[in-house]
Symmetry: C2
DNA sequence: ATCGTATATCGTAAATTTACGATTAATGAT
DNA sequence: ATCATTAATCGTAAATTTACGATATACGAT
């Protein structure tokens, strides 16, 4: 952004927006789905399933790791990635809560 | 992005990512919360509650409207905004579904 | 008809994101 | 020790996002 005004927002809103932003790319949605289905897998397997270069996928993985949605641990020359279930549940609840108050038909016609 | 490779991803992933991205700014999270609490309110009321210029807030409102999270209808010189409940429920379900398969403790140690 | 208010849009600058080739680092195999 | 493989990081270009002042638009009031 032109100027960082994030300090003028509630920390809660900043952190939820941060997670939402990290979900804001189809490659990262796809990675989450792959990891959910496979339970855990090598970086290379993920690269194979995406229409992006290894460098770009690595960048997306880094972003998902940054917000804590996934974990990765190095196993020799390979890296094994998986969903961080505890964190995902936390985030699931935050989104559910954001949407929860909505219920009874919209106010606008 | 440098090149638009979005066509190489599933439409479903692209559209969920699109919504996530629209939630990826604290001002827009805040706007949703304000509209949820107030049920419906004038554009000006929202501007007053955000540390951003009128032009910038208008831009954020436009983005939320684009993905369908909110509706706005013009009433004379004013515009009245509100949550689009039906759409929000739809989106709530999509996120819930994305996170739902996750449940039983992460695979990585 | 003119004026004031409310909001959208335009133009634009700065920051950030996305993508990729090239390089580096780290390990296992020979 | 050398080589092949895997993945992270660097450097960088292009696209997008964010922000705001200025302007345009649309309406109600006078």
């Amino acid at each position: 952004m032109a100027e960082a005004k994030l300090n003028k927002f509630a920390a809660e809103d900043v952190s939820l927006a941060d997670v939402a932003k990290s979900l804001g790319h189809p490659a990262r949605i796809r990675i989450l789905k792959i990891l959910t289905d496979m339970n855990l897998c090598m970086c290379g397997d993920i690269v194979d399933q995406l229409p992006l270069s290894q460098a770009t996928v690595s960048q997306h993985l880094k972003e998902l790791k940054r917000v804590g949605l996934i974990k990765g641990n190095v196993e020799g020359p390979k890296t094994c990635y998986c969903i961080d279930n505890q964190r995902i549940e936390e985030i699931r609840d935050k989104f559910a809560n954001l949407f929860s108050k909505v219920c009874c038909g919209s106010a606008c016609k």
